[in-house]
């Protein structure tokens, strides 16, 4: 009987339905490039480049790498700098030791972070000297992974 959820991998990892997956037992050393979303549950050392896509580091993920992506979601451990053109989200189980460059950064209570956060926006700088608005915390886009 065919499964409605497709492959067994997709059934276990809903995020994997639309993203490549590096599983728990996989160790990658070197440069990793891709043109699709990627979820890492294993170990990666080196450099990760997903310029227009989302990198999700699952709870089991252990990364020592410089990361370049459109968006980065960290539920596991990352040692290295992150450069994300849209946003970085560090979940409560996530740990980041490194500098982050991204226009939007969300860090959950309980997450570990050590480094600097550069949230300089590209393009026109926001209005100067205007009124500072009441806080409307930036809402994290719904995540498909982790």
């Amino acid at each position: 009987m065919a499964s409605e959820t497709g492959s067994p991998v997709e059934a276990r990892h809903p995020a994997a339905a639309s993203a490549a997956l590096i599983g728990k037992s996989v160790v990658v050393k070197g440069e990793l490039e891709g043109s699709e979303d990627l979820t890492i549950e294993g170990q990666v050392e080196g450099k990760i480049e997903l310029r227009d896509h989302t990198l999700t580091i699952g709870q089991g993920g252990r990364i020592k790498a410089q990361v370049f992506a459109r968006a980065v979601v960290v539920c596991g451990e990352l040692v290295g700098n992150i450069n994300a053109s849209e946003y970085v989200e560090i979940r409560e189980t996530g740990s980041v030791d490194g500098d982050v460059v991204s226009p939007r950064v969300a860090i959950a209570d309980g997450a570990h972070f050590r480094g600097s956060i550069d949230m300089q926006k590209k393009g026109p700088v926001q209005a100067k000297g205007g009124a500072i608005e009441a806080v409307t915390p930036w809402k994290i886009p719904p995540s498909q992974g982790a």
Binding site: I90, P103, R104, V105, A106, I107, A108, D109, A111, F113, S116, I117, D118, M119, Q120, K121, V125, Q126, A127, K128, G129, G130, I132, E133, A134, V135, T136, P137, W138
Partner: protein, 232 residues
């Protein structure tokens, strides 16, 4: 400078009077407590701190508090800044040698490594309250050195000697309010800094604003002078 501003207003009188009502002591007197814990209290200096930094393209900000996600998001959305969260509270809670400030000085040398004169704003919160005079002097010297001419420092100081069951962390509720969240810590006893001592401690910074708030805390906004003759 608008010292005592809150206490002169009707709201300030009402807040002070409420402390003497049954159950009115402590937090309930001058703030409200949301479900997440920690009273929401007014802030007078956060807004001017943000407004001045908003005029600086991509300002560099040092936050001496712990990494608090909502603060990071708020500062990013308001200032598009480069933020250095440097949790001094975690170090203050360590049993480093007391008395001369040497223990803290080594912590500062390792932690506050930004370029001297390269920082536009510092959120010091109330970390000075948990330091003795030697430690505070070491921290003040380092912070003053970090600020660029015209750079701003926001700091909070208790106005009454007390030992609390927990230290505090500050969560930005909006540009006019902070949530004072209790946090476990080794140093609960707090130093009271008279206004004159604060000015000496943080010289050559100039006091731009000083507010004595109803919740027995002084909020100060200080600025590193730009005139060469006054720049120490």
């Amino acid at each position: 400078m608008s010292d005592g501003e809150d206490n002169r207003s009707l709201a300030g009188l009402w807040n002070r009077a409420r402390r003497f009502l049954p159950g009115g002591a402590g937090q309930a007197a001058d703030g409200w407590e949301p479900a997440g814990g920690g009273a929401i209290r007014p802030s007078k200096t956060l807004r001017p701190f943000l407004q001045e930094l908003a005029a600086v393209p991509s300002p560099v900000v040092v936050d001496l508090g712990p990494v608090i996600g909502s603060n990071v998001s708020f500062l990013g959305s308001q200032l598009a800044c480069k933020l250095f969260p440097e949790d001094l509270y975690a170090d203050v809670d360590q049993p480093f040698p007391r008395g001369e400030g040497d223990g803290l000085a080594s912590v500062l040398a390792a932690k506050l490594r930004q370029d001297p004169g390269g920082v536009d704003g510092i959120l010091a919160w109330d970390v000075f309250d948990y330091l003795d005079r030697g430690e505070a002097a070491a921290l003040a010297k380092r912070l003053v050195a970090l600020l660029r001419p015209g750079g701003l420092l926001m700091a909070l100081f208790t106005t009454e000697r007390r030992t609390e069951a927990a230290s505090r962390r500050y969560i930005i509720a909006d540009a006019d309010h902070l949530r004072h969240r209790p946090a476990p810590g080794a140093r609960w006893a707090r130093t009271v800094w008279p206004l004159g001592d604060i000015e000496v401690l943080l010289a050559p910074l100039e006091v731009r604003q000083s507010h004595l708030l109803a919740h027995r805390q002084r909020e100060m906004l200080l600025r590193r002078p730009t005139a060469p003759g006054k720049d120490g």
